[in-house]
């Protein structure tokens, strides 16, 4: 077990190191100069040069790379070129929007998907099942930004139940949750459609297992057997998909954040790319990669705990 963990940990570190190098180098070839961007049309070339110097853009490459790495290990991500505040402050503020939004969307999607998937499974091969499956097909095919657009049109512009976007901060948790509701729904529905399908198929798998037949033989009804035994076992693949979806939602909300002008991580990185605020871009991308790699590691680790067969390198 210890060997397995150590090996996976080493591979995790190697991945992160490789990722950091890739990100750094890719951003180096990005055309566009942050200093020129900030000074605009009337600036003289020597003014731009003075700003480049001030921003520390003139140091040699390796020095900047290792400086960045060393800083990150102690939580220092540098100073944003454009905003002129520490990147860690920016990220800290944005995480307060992105993480709750992803969690909210995931909760919604789970609350919809699990019962819907279970109903479809228990009603398998009936018109109800077919109807639900048809709806989920539609959900999977829905571009979330288009759906978001329609939500705004109906609920903000038309009914005026929700504000059209923006984020008031967590001082008033009620208002904050309200502001995140439409974006969370827009993100959650397509995810819920996927999750419901996974839930249904995984339930059907377990329903055919030996112990389920035993449970039925002992006189439990299909519904009772489903609730007592199948549900728990069927949740394992569902949880795996949820893990994947959380990291997807964290970074994948860029377009939704734009539609609802939410100050989240996705929009931060999008704007930072346009402004060539590379300090921000590389740190946020690195952070997202770190989050995904770590979640994967934890998932593998948990599986290995549960199922020793998985400790071998080939899964």
């Amino acid at each position: 077990m210890a060997v397995f963990v150590l090996k996976r940990l080493a591979s995790l570190l190697a991945s992160l190191l490789f990722a950091s190098l890739a990100i750094f180098l890719v951003l180096e070839v990005l055309p566009g100069d942050p200093a020129a961007f900030m000074l605009g049309l009337n600036a003289a070339p020597d003014t731009v040069a003075a700003l480049r110097e001030q921003l520390g853009l003139t140091a040699p490459l390796p020095q900047r790379y290792f400086g960045w790495l060393a800083g990150m290990t102690v939580g220092d991500f540098g100073i944003s070129y454009t905003y002129r505040v520490p990147v860690s402050d920016l990220i800290g503020a944005r995480v307060q929007v992105s993480v709750p939004l992803a969690a909210y969307a995931l909760t919604l999607s789970t609350l919809i998907a699990i019962p819907v998937g279970a109903i479809a499974a228990s009603a398998r091969n009936t018109p109800l099942d077919a109807g639900i499956m048809g709806m989920t097909q539609l959900g999977v095919a829905l571009p979330n930004f288009w759906f978001a657009m329609l939500l705004v049109l109906v609920f903000s512009v038309g009914l005026r139940w929700f504000s059209a976007g923006g984020f008031p901060g967590w001082d008033d948790p009620f208002a904050a949750m309200r502001a995140l509701t439409l974006p969370a729904v827009a993100l959650a529905l397509p995810q819920a459609a996927i999750l419901a399908r996974v839930m249904r198929s995984s339930l059907l798998d377990t329903l055919d297992q030996e112990y389920m037949r035993t449970a039925r033989a002992k006189g439990l009804s299909q519904g009772q057997a489903l609730r007592r035994h199948a549900l728990r076992n069927a949740l394992i693949p569902v949880l795996t998909i949820m893990g994947l979806q959380f990291s997807f939602l964290l970074a994948g909300a860029i377009i939704i954040e734009n539609v609802f002008f939410l100050p989240g991580l996705g929009r931060l990185v999008f704007q930072a790319i346009s402004a060539r605020d590379l300090v921000v871009v590389r740190s946020v991308v690195m952070l997202l990669v770190f989050a995904v790699v770590t979640v994967n590691f934890l998932v593998d680790f948990t599986y290995a705990l549960v199922d020793p067969r998985l400790r071998r390198p080939v899964s």
């Binding site: 398998r124 571009p143 657009m149 994967n296």
Partner: protein, 273 residues
């Protein structure tokens, strides 16, 4: 084997859009490069079945030509994934348990760990926006998908008896992979390709929506949506039609993929997610 309703509906929708794209090569109701500001934002009518957009262009013609863009981008991106991913997966399966296998699989995980949209934006920031760069951005993320699927499917084939026989007759790993393994995993790959194709259509729409896909004057569904978004209060059809088109196309491909899987492997019917 029974051909499912899904498969029929899927084939119907997919063929319909392929036909639209095909017809647009030789004929469209109107010229999509002709801008007539005076005719803008007209509702659907006899002259313009789906109405006109903010430049007075015929929306039906735009959808037809846009189908070409979407299909081409998604299809080539799938091709990129197959060409690079499948050999990688076969290689990893042939070398199962070795360091090379570990490196390939960890490399795959690493690509998956990158936020796809952010990387796509970076790629277009470096090379400029355009259909080709959208293909690259979507294609890169198709590679690990096909590598993983190919490896998984190939692993189970490797344990089969006829492979043992082939090995005993002295054939090398590469030879076996392409001659014996590949034909046996083709079904799985075709189904995966359909899924990636539909995801590619969605991804292309998303990229074009944020302005990173095909560039004007080449029509694209995602950009039609983006440009129509502000007109939605003036002329809702301009934003609703391209959105519905994307939904129908993706729906058709998904149904097609599911139906195909059921058809090829009926044991899995009703079980698949």
């Amino acid at each position: 084997m029974r051909v499912g309703a899904n498969l029929i509906a899927g084939i119907g929708l997919s063929v319909f859009f392929l036909a639209l794209a095909g017809v647009s090569l030789v004929w469209t109701p109107y010229d999509v490069t002709l801008l007539v500001v005076g005719d803008r934002l007209q509702p659907p009518s006899q002259a313009h079945w789906l109405g006109t957009d903010h430049f007075g262009r015929d929306i039906l013609s735009m959808i037809m030509v846009g189908a070409r863009t979407s299909i081409a981008v998604a299809l080539i991106a799938v091709g990129v994934g197959v060409i690079f991913g499948v050999p990688l997966g076969l290689f990893a399966a042939a070398m199962r348990g070795s360091l090379a296998d570990e490196i390939v699989m960890r490399g795959n995980d690493l690509v998956f760990a990158f936020p796809a949209l952010v990387i796509a934006i970076l790629i277009t920031a470096i090379f400029g926006p355009g259909a080709v760069n959208a293909i690259i951005a979507i294609g890169i993320f198709n590679i690990p998908v096909f590598a993983r699927v190919a490896r998984g499917a190939a692993l189970s084939v490797w344990t089969r008896e006829f492979i043992m026989a082939a090995r005993l007759s002295g054939k090398g790993s590469a030879h076996i992979s392409f001659e014996h393994i590949l034909p046996n995993i083709a079904n799985t790959l075709i189904v995966q390709a359909t899924i990636q194709f539909s995801l590619g259509i969605l991804a292309e729409a998303g990229l074009a929506y944020v302005g990173l896909g095909a560039q004007p004057p080449q029509p694209s569904w995602g950009r039609m949506l983006a440009e129509a978004q502000t007109m939605i209060a003036l002329a809702p059809h301009v934003a609703i039609i391209p959105g519905l088109t994307i939904v129908l196309m993706v729906l058709g491909l998904n149904l097609f993929g599911d139906g195909l899987r059921d058809y090829l492997d009926p044991r899995l019917r009703e079980r698949r997610p």
